[in-house]
């Protein structure tokens, strides 16, 4: 029986009982009227005779509810009443706790949505993602489309085994033109996921035709409704995908946007039809027919009762059979769950940021608990008499402690709800304002699911225990006699706990603020640091044809433009596939010619011959690339040269990439100085290859005139060409974006911590003054000056402030090296940051103590002493 039905049943039973008792009293009153009493007297006497009605109901309830449960219920009701009596206290506790729980809950929601949640389809646990294991000399495992089809046709362990590849681009339906993400899938893809169609049908097996691809498509319900106006007649109509006509055969079921958590897809086409959309169809089909080519994404739904291990064993055997015929070594597969966290690459990406964020927020949570603990402690003192009475009436200490903890629990749970609501709201706002294209963003990943609720409740419990148990034990410890008799003489024990908590708060704020300060300084530092080439003097000019221009047209244009630029009517112009410093990178595996051993990962940059000249990157050895893309020449940077040939002259050496049977060999003609290419803080081994046509134009001239000259040269070839220019130094701003974001996050968290610490300090000293009111009154009556009183109070604050700051400094010195590569060479022990933050903390701590001290100085001894 569910708890709710049980509770409903109990409520009905209690209503019955109340009705029954009402009837009893009425019957008695009627008897009394018969005996000659007036109606009113009879009613009153009947009630009196019945006795305590509430007690009767409560004791009847206890018959049905286990005693412990009913006493928990009492605790809760008592706690609710006691909280309702002190709304200001309750609001501040809930508010402070929510500040701690909210950010953590939001972070967890993000973590959960992007890493923990399985694919949003029916029974995701029976789906396994199939990853080929790389061989000893490979970076990635290979699984060709032909091999996939062999596995699919022979497997018994999988009910469906599907493959896919990603795509995206403009889609035109009648007059509507939208940009969407798409997927090219095997015909059984939707069967594998268990996703049905809203209207129309799924793909037929014959539509996955690798000899003559079929141009059919399935669109999402959202695309159909929001962008195409939900025409029922759309089945059989034509859309243009990158200028190629596709016939719509189905609209997928409502709410299905494919399975990625960070994006949504609105268009699906058969796997072979990729050949119709991108590039040369024959070339594409030849690649799909190569039994050794490519690495295909594959996932399958396990047949009922088959374990993942059994399915892996079967696939390994099948792969071995298949590869014997090519022939090729089989390395087997790993099968992983659909939770993104089971992918090691995804995990290692996230792990670079997550621990720092969690650490910072956990520190805030600690602060929050310390703060709330202080509040509860202070309130415990003002409740001394109540507690003492309860203890002296025979309540066990455990029972009273339980009562106090229950109150804290109620507050924490409320705070958890408030924090989660606020956190999710902030997260949504944050995502909406930072995502560039809401059309492509998946709105769903940041939902509150059972995992998020469980996490929030756990956090609330932690907050409750951490903030209430110690104060509860403390406020119930002192002997009853002392407590009932006591007025408001201070107790040193509680004072010490409070000042310790205060020092801890200051120390933690110090750590967080130093981190924030360092990150901010690092961004400023990065903007001034010299990357080793003339980044500040170069302009980057992008030239492209308007959207919708065919690939052929743009190829012809870029060739013509390249020839025009190299004809030399313009200042030296270099071309590069990517901008100078960018996180987006192409990687390639290369083997040194003589060294038949392990291959190395290099960052590949496609550039023109003049790249080094224009950017001012010195060539320390050899010459630049030949002005001919067909010469297989490369320039490597110093790091790459050292990695491959530590002892030898790299010039003339060979670098080989690709599989041994289809290897491409390059000759090293030059060595360039090391400069950062992916981020400001790292130097990585780089290989510079010749760029074909196209690319970004780079010119060492910041004047608008040079842009005009290049633009007019481009427009003389294609009048519609679109030209945009920007300083290359923007790369630095882009590269430091992450640190900038991190510094904002750190400031938000750090200031939150500072506010909490200041409020906490203020509360503690305001309370101390209150506690010592009588003592101060006596002193002033005996002639103490206001200044002396202020000094006494501030002196009490000195130790915790100094201890807190000292401990904070030590902790910060120990913790900040973690920030390492986000600092762009700024020392994690940057003195200016430490000094500035210390000053900031000292000032806020002084403000927090000075105000209560001023108030102490204004105490009127006459009033205070009369009050006793």
């Amino acid at each position: 029986m569910s708890i709710w039905r049980w509770m409903a049943g109990r409520r009905r039973a209690e209503e019955d009982l109340a009705r029954e008792i009402e009837a009893n009293v009425a019957e008695r009153a009627d008897d009394l009227i018969d005996q000659g009493l007036s109606a009113a007297d009879a009613q009153a006497q009947a009630r009196r005779e019945f006795g305590n009605r509430t007690l009767a109901i409560e004791r009847s309830r206890e018959v049905w509810i286990a005693p412990w449960l009913s006493s928990v219920w009492q605790d809760l009701r008592y706690a609710a009443r006691s909280i309702a009596r002190q709304p200001a206290f309750a609001t501040s506790v809930i508010g402070i706790l929510a500040l701690g729980i909210g950010p953590l809950a939001a972070l967890f929601t993000m973590f959960n949505g992007s890493l923990l949640r399985p694919w949003p389809v029916r029974d995701p646990s029976s789906i396994a993602i199939v990853k080929p294991i790389p061989g000893p000399r490979e970076q990635f495992g290979s699984l060709s489309n032909v091999e996939y089809r062999y596995l699919r046709d022979h497997t018994r362990a999988f009910a469906h085994l599907a493959t896919w590849t990603h795509g995206g681009g403009p889609v035109v339906y009648r007059k509507t033109n939208v940009s969407v993400l798409s997927k090219f899938v095997s015909a059984n893809y939707f069967d594998m996921l268990g996703v049905g169609m809203h209207i129309g049908r799924g793909f037929l097996p014959e539509e996955e035709d690798y000899t003559s691809p079929r141009a059919v498509a399935i669109i999402s319900e959202r695309l159909w409704r929001e962008h195409f106006g939900a025409p029922a007649s759309i089945i059989g109509e034509t859309i243009l995908v990158y200028d190629s006509p596709f016939t719509i055969v189905g609209v997928a079921q409502n709410g299905f946007f494919d399975v990625e958590t960070d994006s949504r897809r609105d268009l699906w086409m058969p796997r072979p039809s990729l050949a119709l959309v991108f590039g040369d169809p024959d070339q594409n089909l030849k690649m799909l027919a190569d039994p050794r080519g490519g690495s295909n994404a594959v996932a399958g739904r396990l047949a009922p009762g088959v374990t993942r291990a059994a399915a892996k064993a079967e696939l390994d055997v099948l792969s071995g059979q298949f590869r014997r015929t090519i022939p090729m070594d089989a390395h087997g597969f790993t099968l992983r769950s659909t939770r993104p966290i089971s992918d090691r690459n995804v995990l290692s990406n996230q792990l670079s940021i997550l621990p720092a964020a969690i650490g910072a927020l956990a520190l805030v949570m600690l602060l929050v608990c310390a703060n709330v603990g202080n509040l509860i402690l202070a309130r415990g003192v003002s409740r001394q008499r109540e507690l003492a009475i309860r203890l002296s009436l025979g309540a066990s200490r455990l029972r009273v402690v339980r009562q106090l903890v229950t109150e804290a629990l109620l507050l924490s749970v409320l705070a958890g709800a408030v924090g989660l609501g606020g956190g999710i709201f902030a997260l949504r706002v944050f995502i909406q304002t930072t995502r560039p294209n809401p059309l492509l963003a998946n709105p769903d990943p940041y939902l509150v699911d059972p995992a998020v609720s469980a996490f929030t409740i756990a956090m609330a419990l932690v907050a409750c225990v951490a903030s209430s148990v110690l104060p509860a034990l403390r406020s119930t410890r002192v002997s009853i006699a002392a407590r009932t008799a006591e007025s408001s003489a201070g107790r040193p024990g509680a004072g010490r706990l409070r000042t310790t908590l205060l020092a801890a708060q200051l120390a933690l704020s110090m750590v967080l603020l130093v981190g924030a300060g360092l990150l901010t300084r690092a961004v400023g530092h990065a903007l001034t640091v010299d990357p080793g080439f003339a980044i500040q003097e170069v302009q980057a000019i992008a030239i492209r044809l308007p959207d919708g221009a065919s690939i052929d047209r743009s190829t012809i244009f870029h060739r013509a433009l390249r020839d025009a630029l190299e004809a030399g009517k313009l200042p030296p112009v270099a071309r590069s596939e990517l901008t100078a410093i960018t996180g987006s990178r192409a990687l390639g595996s290369f083997r040194g010619g003589g060294d038949a051993g392990k291959s190395r990962e290099l960052i590949v940059r496609a550039v023109s011959a003049r790249y080094f000249e224009v950017l001012g990157i010195p060539l320390v050895n050899g010459r630049t690339l030949a002005n001919d893309e067909h010469m297989q020449e490369v320039v490597v940077n110093e790091s790459a040269a050292r990695a491959f040939w530590p002892e030898e002259d790299p010039l003339g050496k060979r670098l080989v990439s690709g599989r041994s049977d289809a290897a491409v060999s390059y000759t090293v003609v030059g060595v360039a100085k090391d400069v950062p290419v992916t981020s400001l803080s790292e130097i990585q081994p780089v290989i510079y290859k010749s760029i074909r046509s196209g690319g970004l134009l780079l010119v060492r001239d910041l004047s608008p005139a040079v842009v005009d000259r290049i633009a007019s040269s481009a427009r003389s070839i294609e009048p519609e060409a679109v030209v945009t220019a920007r300083p290359l130094a923007d790369d630095i701003a882009v590269a430091t974006q992450g640190t900038l974001m991190a510094s904002r996050f750190a400031w938000a968290v750090g200031l939150l911590a500072l506010i909490l610490a200041t409020v906490g300090a203020f509360g503690v000293f305001a309370y101390t003054v209150e506690e010592r009111r009588r003592e101060i009154g006596v002193r002033m009556a005996l002639g103490a000056q206001a200044r002396q009183v202020v000094a006494t109070v501030v002196a009490g604050a000195r130790t915790p402030i100094l201890v807190g700051l000292g401990a904070g400094l030590l902790l910060a010195l120990a913790a900040t090296p973690v920030l390492g590569r986000f600092l762009y060479g700024l020392s994690p022990f940057d003195a200016a940051t430490y000094a500035g933050i210390s000053a900031m903390l000292v000032v806020s701590a002084l403000v927090a103590t000075w105000i209560p001290a001023r108030r102490a100085a204004q105490i009127d001894p006459a009033i205070t002493l009369r009050g006793d």
Binding site: R19, A23, E27, F50, G51, R53, W64, S71, I389, R390
Partner: protein, 117 residues
């Protein structure tokens, strides 16, 4: 301030006496709560006064134990009341209680006599 108390019958009766009298009274036929209290009062020549405040928890206990069953019906004064009826289990419980009570009573009587002589 409300402090929880251990559940107990606050009448001066010994434990179980109220239950026994209720079961005995209901042997003659179903009754509602007020009528039950009145019947016990009259049968004892008004020597035993049942406080309704403890009668209802006792009735709930006996309902839970399965000695009684309850149903809504109409009183002589045409009022909606809940009437209680003895079940077979209740009848058996009454027999056990009465024999135990009689043994106890005769034991007490012997002690009292022994003290007199």
């Amino acid at each position: 301030m409300y402090m929880p108390m251990p559940p107990s019958d606050r009448s001066d009766l010994f434990p179980g006496a109220l239950e026994m009298m209720v079961l005995q009274t209901l042997r003659r036929g179903p009754l509602h709560g007020y009528a039950l209290a009145q019947a016990i009062k009259q049968a004892s020549d008004e020597l035993v006064h049942v406080e309704e405040g403890s009668l209802y928890p006792a009735l709930q206990r006996m309902l839970k134990a399965g000695w009684l069953s309850a149903a809504w019906s109409t009183s002589a004064r045409n009022r909606q009341v809940r009437t209680y009826k003895l079940t077979a289990a209740g009848r058996k419980q009454l027999e056990r209680k009465v024999s135990a009570f009689e043994r106890l009573l005769s034991g007490i009587a012997k002690v009292m006599k022994a003290q007199e002589s």
